[in-house]
């Protein structure tokens, strides 16, 4: 009988530890347990038999570490492993028991990018090979277990769904802080797993049942809409006479598992340290308990790799700054492949207080799919906020949803059949909440009722695709009030109608003021009115003080800010900034030398009222930078000071850029990259900020950069100076390869190299043009390379926003 028909409706028991028992049977340290499927078939069968005998319904195959990174013969071992469970089950099935073989899939042992070096799609492929082997071998289900990382779990579940029709179960490892080792909470895991269409979700390993009861299980129960699996360790391990023993015995374990069952967990089993005896006693103590199958109400939850955010509780701010519409500077950054500018916008918006970041990179000149993927991935490397994937291109949307680490908000679908046909299958497959625009083939209705009608149709269509209505967030479209003075009223009335239907709402607030003066005023008041009607999300500019004022004040007034604490903190912070603006009696030179960022910005603003921008650069900023730079070279100034001065100088440059009209001059463009295989880029980042200070336009390709990417970028943008960094001896070969490829492809560029293990000899040996011992040496080399005449013309950004 299909396990899907039973799971969650009746109590099912998993098995206990595999590794622990195999070790007792003689598995040697360092030996892969999976090879025992081939070398010790009787032992493996006996292990499975013991669990069936104890009463387990579902026994996992001995394939935890079976993947193509470690084994050439994945298919062979998979077939044997499933066969062993089947053989062990046969006598019990003969007695009328129903026994299941769950194909066990554990972590790959290599961390996915960006913090590790395993590309996401490679992880999916590795899991896919195991899944296909499992299907071929005749497994009844896929059990993905002991997941420490949400991203790897997502890769595994995707692989399972794409390569089989089998039920897919996922259990992950939480610690006592209630997080996976890479940060995901129980709420996040559940939202992501359910979004991907998991059949059951849960927790295993690391903790004993007591700790799971305390830190994890209640949280899982409060958010899961699929059956839960709980497979704890037998408590914590310790050494006794040279052996590992666990501190929770079978009797205590089973008593605790009874509590787990009483809370409403239908699937019970064990992990490290548990034996058939643990399972037998657990079954004895829980068999008589009724299975509860009530689930909480479904909610709109989006997540990053770490935390989950429920939409609909308190109005959510979605930062709109990473969207090229009307932003010249961002458009230029996208054309130039300057993802680092997007990262700055991401971090700044997060610091300003948004809860979700919109990511839209749609400009005609670029490959949107590629750029959106890269932007999403790199923003997730620096921000733990959920992202809103914002694109009109379904293939870009799919690519980004696929590699997104979490459950995204998707912007958008609309009432056109074509749009729904393109977007809903993606939401169904990858999971996500989706913004639904109330427009269709006939355009945007002029009435609130018309817009509500479209929302109803969108919701019906979503439901027919298997997407719950809770996942739809309706955007009833803010239209410009200058064109039609009823438009704001219609939008506000639409919000009310959506609320009546129990639907969540979102608005791109600033559209309302288009074409009118003092837009921020209109935006802020409209925002306040919309919040009053119950608006759930606003796509907005968090650098607008008016908008932020409204949000904090409205939350306090609407009872959404306990004890008004957030309002008071905000009030204190904004007051502080105003004071800081007033007090600064240093000169700009001093402010930069002492690394005072805000003072430098303020002083530059003052100076620019009386001096020409070029004079400010040449008479104030540059001399300060030179002072600090030469101090660093003489070892009287140290790295943190050098960088603080660089940040202060940047703040001053930002002010100068506001004054200089288009047509400024760049000193030269330089590519920086940390080479393939190297994931440590701190040195490269230091070099970057100093080069920028000295007026260079830096194209930062990031870390773990393949040689081809460096070559392509150098050719595409005609760059003549390239800086490469490598931290370890093991990655210097990749540096050598990059230089070799640049020469082979006849890229006319000089290469300067740096990094902890490099020396002049090493640099010579790999064919570099220059070895730079530290960041200042790179600057000096660039100065010499681009010529002395550049010195007096500092970088003017002609792309003012």
């Amino acid at each position: 009988m299909d396990i899907r028909k039973r799971i969650g409706k009746e109590r099912l028991y998993f098995d206990g530890a595999t590794g622990t028992l195999l070790q007792n049977m003689g598995l040697a340290p360092g030996e892969f347990p999976e090879t025992w499927n081939l070398t010790h078939p009787e032992s493996v069968r006996e292990l499975h038999r013991l669990y069936f005998e104890a009463g387990s319904d579902i026994v996992a195959t001995n394939t935890f570490g079976l993947n193509a990174l470690k084994f050439d013969n994945v298919e062979e071992l998979a077939a044997l492993a499933v066969g062993h469970v089947r053989a062990a089950a046969a006598p019990f099935e003969a007695q009328g028991r129903v026994c299941y073989a769950a194909f066990d899939i554990g972590p790959l042992g290599r961390m996915p990018q960006p913090f590790g070096d395993l590309p996401f799609e490679e992880a999916v492929d590795l899991f896919a090979r195991s899944v296909r082997a499992a299907v071929k071998a005749g497994a009844d289900a896929i059990l993905i277990e002991t997941m420490n990382d949400l991203y790897e779990a997502k890769a595994a579940v995707l692989a399972a769904k794409e390569n089989s029709d089998l039920p897919v179960f996922l259990t992950a490892v939480f610690d006592q802080t209630g997080r996976l080792m890479t940060g995901a909470t129980p709420e996040t895991l559940v939202a992501v797993a359910e979004g991907l269409g998991i059949d059951a979700v849960g927790v295993n390993c690391s903790l004993g049942p007591r700790e799971m009861l305390e830190h994890v299980i209640p949280r899982l129960l409060a958010c899961a809409h699929v059956p839960l699996i709980v497979n704890p360790n037998a408590g914590l391990p310790r050494e006794e006479d040279g052996k590992t023993v666990y501190d929770v015995g079978a009797e205590e374990f089973s008593g605790l598992m009874r509590q787990v069952a009483q809370l409403g967990v239908p699937c019970l089993g064990g992990c490290c340290g548990t034996t058939p005896e643990y399972i037998r006693r657990t079954i004895e103590k829980t068999r008589d308990l009724p299975v509860l199958s009530e689930y909480p109400e479904k909610r709109a939850v989006v997540t990053s790799y770490a935390g989950a955010l429920e939409i609909g509780k308190k109005p959510v701010l979605i930062g709109e700054r990473i969207n090229p519409t009307g932003k010249i500077r961002l458009k230029q950054a996208l054309r130039d492949g300057e993802i680092s500018y997007l990262l700055e916008e991401a971090v700044r918006q997060q610091d300003a207080g948004v809860q979700i970041l919109d990511v839209n990179v749609g400009i005609p000149e670029i490959d949107e799919t590629q750029v959106l993927k890269e932007a999403v991935s790199r923003i997730q490397g620096v921000s733990d906020l959920p992202l809103q994937i914002d694109t009109a291109d379904p293939s870009a949307m799919e690519a980004a949803m696929r590699i997104y680490n979490g459950k995204p908000l998707v912007n958008s679908v609309n009432g056109k059949q074509e749009s729904m046909d393109a977007v809903f299958p993606l939401v169904k497959k990858y999971g996500g909440c989706v913004i639904a625009l109330t427009l269709d083939e006939k355009g945007i209705p002029q009435t609130a009722e018309g817009r509500a009608g479209i929302a109803d149709r969108i919701v019906r269509e979503a439901e027919s695709c298997g997407i719950d209505r809770s996942q739809i967030i309706v955007d009833p479209l803010a239209m410009t009030v200058s064109a039609d003075q009823q438009s704001a009223n219609i939008t506000l009335e639409s919000i009310r109608l959506m609320k009546e239907r129990g639907l969540l709402t979102s608005l791109g607030v600033s559209n309302v003021s288009f074409g009118l003066p003092r837009r921020e005023l209109l935006n802020a008041v409209f925002f306040a009115m919309a919040l009053d009607r119950g608006l759930d999300c606003a796509i907005m500019n968090p650098f607008s003080e008016d908008m932020m004022n409204v949000w904090y004040a409205a939350n306090a007034l609407r009872g959404l800010d306990g004890n008004c604490l957030e309002y008071m903190a905000y009030a204190a912070k904004t007051k502080q900034t105003q004071t800081a603006r007033q007090v600064s009696d240093q000169t700009l030179f001093d402010a930069i030398v002492s690394g005072m960022k805000e003072a430098a910005g303020a002083k530059a603003r003052d100076l620019l009222l009386e001096k020409e921008p070029l004079a400010v650069i040449n008479e104030d900023i540059v001399p300060a930078l030179d002072r600090v730079g030469s101090g660093f070279e003489k070892k009287t100034v140290f790295l943190p000071q050098l960088l603080m001065s660089a940040e202060a100088a940047n703040a001053a440059f930002d002010e100068v850029k506001k004054k200089i009209p288009a047509g400024g001059r760049e000193k030269g463009r330089i590519i920086l990259a940390t080479v393939k295989g190297d994931i440590h880029d701190i040195g490269k980042n230091i070099v970057k900020v100093l080069l920028q200070n000295y007026g260079y336009d830096v194209l930062d390709l990031g870390k773990d950069v393949p040689p081809e990417t460096v070559v392509d970028a150098a050719r595409r943008y005609g760059v003549r100076l390239i800086g490469l960094s490598a931290l370890m001896t093991t990655t210097v070969p990749a540096m050598r390869e990059t230089i070799r490829l640049l020469k082979e492809r006849r890229v006319d560029a000089k290469v300067v190299v740096g990094g902890a293990v490099l020396t002049q000899e090493y640099a010579d040996a790999i064919g570099a043009d220059c070895y730079a011992r530290d960041a200042m040496e790179t600057v000096r080399y660039a100065e010499a390379f681009f010529g002395a005449d550049a010195e007096s013309h500092f970088f003017m950004d002609n792309r003012a926003d």
Binding site: G30, F115, D117, N148, M181, F638, I679, D681
Partner: protein, 222 residues
């Protein structure tokens, strides 16, 4: 015999991160940072405490010199003159892996976007922190004998390659989520693998910077 893998953890606040070590990693070579930098260090330290997740796994193993010139461990034979000196007279050793967790890497990356000074400071704080955590782990190893200074792959002539054997032996990927990239870098990056001999008597063996051949390193302890 199957290794007994012990687990060790500590709350962020319980590990004192020595200022002088942070300064050393920042390249101060015995100098004291000025007030503005000290303020930044404190701000970063506060955020770091919210990001760090200390975890370690360890095993007590037998060790002995082979006739063939290698050092025997249950996970394989190690060839290193420097480690041999460190373990002289030891029949047992602790092998361990300790980490500050991926949160430290994330903090460093986030700062790198717009606050490079803080990024560099966070890197130094995290490095000093994981070393301090190792001290705390080593102090927790009770029992008879004297613990020798820890010795890590990459020190002296002890090849980085041994990292993979140590991590596999300790089941570190599963136990504490420390993994290796193909270029032998540990993820999370603020992680340490090390071997510390257990001697029957106290003796001074060269350790840390003194075993390193890179004499002009900016971080060298003096």
């Amino acid at each position: 015999m199957t290794p007994v893998i012990g687990l060790f953890t500590a709350e962020a606040e319980k590990i004192a991160i020595p200022d002088r070590e942070i300064w050393r990693y920042l390249g101060y070579r015995g100098n004291v940072p000025d007030g503005a930098v000290l303020e930044q260090i404190e701000a970063v330290r506060r955020e770091f405490l919210g990001a760090v997740q200390y975890k370690a796994c360890f095993a007590k193993t037998k060790t002995r010199r082979n006739d063939a010139g290698g050092i025997f461990f249950p996970f394989g034979t190690v060839r290193s003159k420097a480690l041999e000196r460190s373990l002289a007279g030891c029949e047992e050793a602790y092998v361990f892996c300790a980490t500050a967790g991926i949160g430290a890497d994330r903090l460093i990356s986030r700062y790198a976007v717009a606050e490079p000074a803080r990024s560099v400071i966070a890197d130094a704080v995290a490095t000093a922190a994981v070393e301090a955590f190792c001290d705390s782990l080593c102090a927790s190893f009770g029992g008879s004998g004297y613990l020798r200074p820890r010795f890590s792959p990459g020190y002296g002539d002890l090849s980085l390659e041994y990292q993979s054997e140590v991590l596999r032996y300790l089941d570190a990927a599963r136990k504490i989520n420390v993994q290796l990239t193909q270029s032998m870098m540990m993820v999370p990056s603020k992680s340490v693998t090390a071997i510390a001999g257990i001697g029957r008597e106290q003796c001074a063996v060269p350790s840390g910077c003194r075993t390193c051949t890179q004499k002009d390193c900016a971080y060298r302890r003096r």
